[in-house]
C-alpha cells in the first residue's frame, strides 16, 4: 500500500494461489483510520481480489464472527501505526490467537511497519519518544526493526538493544519486504531499487549487520530467486 507504487502489493497477491484471493485488512495500528481503509480498497481493487476489512472500533459494521472471517482469507494485511496499540487492541478481542491459527492453517500474513513488527518475538517500536523494545506475537522467533534507514533513531536503538541481549533478527528499509516461509527467511524483495533488508546478529558486544541481496520487483524479466546463503555472502559487517 505504498502510495503510487503497487509492486509489493502485486508481489504479495501473487503469492496467493486462488484466482481471486480473499484479502482482509486489519487497520488497528492506525485506530481503524477511515482514510487508510479507503487506501486499502483502492490498492486491493475488487477487480483482482475479494477485499474486506475488520474494524475493532466500529464493530457494528463488518463481519460478526471474526474468527471464521479471518480463517477464510487467503491473505491478511496489517496496516501501519502504533504496534503497542495494535497488540493491545488485538489481545482485547482475541485476534492474536486467531492470527496464529490462521498462520498455522496457511493463510498468508503480511503487513508494513507496525504490521511487520507484530509477527516477531521482539520488535523495536518508535513512538512518542525514544524507540522502545517490546514483545510481538512471536510467530517468527526473531527481532525486527522497520524504517531501518541510515542515521535513523531506530537503527541506533536496535543496535543497542541487540547488545543488551535482544535476540538476533531482521531489519528492513522503507520499500524492502522480508518474505518468510514458515519461520525461515525465503527472500527479500523491494519496491524501490535501493531498498535493502538486513540480518542482525551479535558477536560479543559487537553488532554484526549483514545486508541481504534484495530483489527489486520493478525490473521486468527478473526472476526473484535470490537464494539466502548466496545473499548473505554479499553481506557487509557493520561497525
Amino acid at each position: 500500500m505504498e502510495s503510487g507504487n503497487p509492486l509489493l502489493d502485486d508481489y504479495v497477491l501473487g503469492l496467493c494461489t486462488a484466482e481471486r484471493p480473499r484479502v482482509c485488512f486489519l487497520p488497528q495500528a492506525s485506530g481503524d483510520a477511515d482514510h487508510y481503509i479507503v487506501r486499502f480498497y483502492r490498492a486491493f481493487a475488487a477487480t483482482r481480489c475479494e477485499a474486506s476489512h475488520i474494524s475493532l472500533f466500529r464493530r457494528e459494521q463488518g463481519p460478526d464472527d471474526l474468527r471464521r472471517h479471518l480463517l477464510s482469507q487467503d491473505l491478511i494485511y496489517v496496516g501501519g501505526g502504533s504496534v503497542v496499540s495494535l497488540l493491545g487492541v488485538w489481545k482485547a478481542h482475541g485476534i492474536d490467537a486467531i492470527l496464529r491459527e490462521a498462520w498455522e492453517a496457511g493463510v498468508i500474513l503480511c503487513g508494513l511497519s507496525a504490521g511487520s513488527l507484530c509477527w516477531f518475538a521482539e520488535a523495536v517500536s518508535g513512538f512518542h519518544g525514544a524507540p522502545k523494545r517490546l514483545e510481538g506475537l512471536g510467530l517468527l522467533p526473531f527481532s525486527n526493526c522497520v524504517h531501518y534507514e541510515r542515521k535513523s533513531d531506530r537503527r541506533e536503538s536496535y543496535h543497542r538493544f541487540l547488545r543488551e541481549g535482544m535476540r538476533p533478527g531482521y531489519a528492513a528499509e522503507d520499500g524492502a519486504a522480508l518474505h518468510f516461509v514458515g519461520q525461515e527467511l525465503s527472500r527479500v524483495v523491494a519496491s524501490r531499487p535501493e531498498a535493502r533488508g538486513y540480518r542482525l546478529d551479535v558477536s560479543g558486544q559487537r553488532v554484526v549487520e549483514m545486508r541481504i541481496a534484495t530483489t527489486y520487483l520493478g525490473e521486468r524479466g527478473v526472476v526473484p530467486e535470490a537464494a539466502l546463503p548466496e545473499a548473505l555472502s554479499t553481506a557487509l559487517p557493520a561497525a
Partner: protein
C-alpha cells in the same frame, strides 16, 4: 487536593446549546485548577484517535481562554511527546467516546492508567463522555463488540455506569439486567447529563439539556431500582459572535426563504 472527575452520559463538540454548555462547564472546572488559561488535553483513544473528534475538540476550545492539546496513541511520531510529563502538566484531561474495551486495552499497553490515577490524586480534573465516562468506574456497559455487554473499567470510582441511558434503550436494558445479575450498583446518565465527583462519594448531578436525567441504579431486595437524581442545570453561554461573511450568508438565506425561492 480535591480529586475531581466529571462523567458525562454523552455529548458532541458542536455549537448547539447543550454541547456548548458542556464545554463551558469543562472549561470552568479546568480553570478552577489551572487559573485563567488552563491546559486541557483530549485523549481520543476510544475512537481510534479519529481526526473528526480531534478537530471538533479544537474547534470547541481553540477560541476559548485555554491551551488545548491532544495525545494520540495511534498516529506515529511526527510530533512525539513525553506522554507522562504532558499528561501530568494538564489541568483537565478529557477522554473521548468510542470503544471502552479498546480504550482500556490500549491504555494498558501504553501504561496510561497509572498516569491518570496519579493525575487524579494530584487534583488534575478527569472528564469524559460515553466510554470516556464509564472507564473511571469499576464497570460499564459497552457496545465495543456490537451488542451491549458488561466491561470492567479502571475502578477509580466505585460502582458502575451506563451512558446514553434513555437514548439507547437496549443499553439500558442490558445494564438493568447486569445489575440484577450482580454488577455493582451505579448510575445511568442520559446524553448531556453528568455526574461531578469530588472525592469518591456522593457525586452531584448536572444537566446541559432540559429533560436529560441522571439516575441512581441499585439492587434492593432482588429488585433493580432506578431513582432520578436532583440535577443542576448548566446554561449554555452565548454563542461566539458570527463572522461577518457567515452572518451575511445567513441573512441572504433567510431573505430567500421568506421570498419563497427555496420553497
Amino acid at each position: 487536593m480535591v480529586r475531581r472527575i466529571l462523567t458525562l452520559g454523552g455529548h458532541d463538540f458542536t455549537s448547539r446549546p447543550p454541547d456548548r454548555a458542556v464545554c463551558e462547564f469543562l472549561l470552568r472546572l479546568a480553570s478552577e485548577h489551572g487559573g485563567a488559561r488552563p491546559r486541557i488535553c483530549i485523549l481520543p483513544t476510544a475512537s481510534g484517535d479519529t481526526s473528526d473528534l480531534i478537530a471538533s475538540f479544537y474547534q470547541a476550545f481553540g477560541n476559548r481562554p485555554c491551551e488545548p492539546s491532544d495525545v494520540s496513541l495511534f498516529r506515529l511520531g511526527r510530533r512525539p511527546m513525553a506522554l507522562r510529563d504532558h499528561l501530568l502538566s494538564q489541568d483537565l484531561i478529557y477522554v473521548g467516546g468510542g470503544s471502552m474495551v479498546n480504550l482500556l486495552a490500549v491504555w494498558e499497553a501504553h501504561d496510561i492508567a497509572g498516569i491518570l490515577s496519579l493525575a487524579w490524586h494530584r487534583g488534575i480534573v478527569l472528564a469524559g463522555q460515553s466510554a470516556g465516562a464509564m472507564c473511571w468506574f469499576e464497570a460499564g456497559i459497552t457496545k465495543s463488540s456490537g451488542k451491549p455487554l458488561a466491561a470492567a473499567g479502571l475502578g477509580l470510582l466505585r460502582g458502575s455506569l451506563c451512558v446514553h441511558y434513555n437514548n439507547e434503550p437496549e443499553r439500558r436494558a442490558a445494564y438493568l439486567e447486569a445489575v440484577g445479575d450482580g454488577m455493582p450498583d451505579g448510575y445511568g446518565l442520559d446524553d448531556h447529563a453528568g455526574l461531578l465527583w469530588e472525592g469518591e462519594d456522593s457525586p452531584s448531578a448536572v444537566t446541559a439539556r432540559r429533560g436529560a436525567r441522571a439516575y441512581r441504579v441499585s439492587k434492593r431486595e432482588g429488585e433493580v431500582v432506578e431513582s432520578p437524581l436532583p440535577v443542576r442545570f448548566l446554561p449554555a453561554p452565548a454563542p461566539a459572535a458570527l463572522r461577518e461573511d457567515i452572518a451575511e450568508f445567513r441573512r441572504i438565506k433567510t431573505m430567500r426563504r421568506h421570498a419563497g425561492w427555496l420553497g
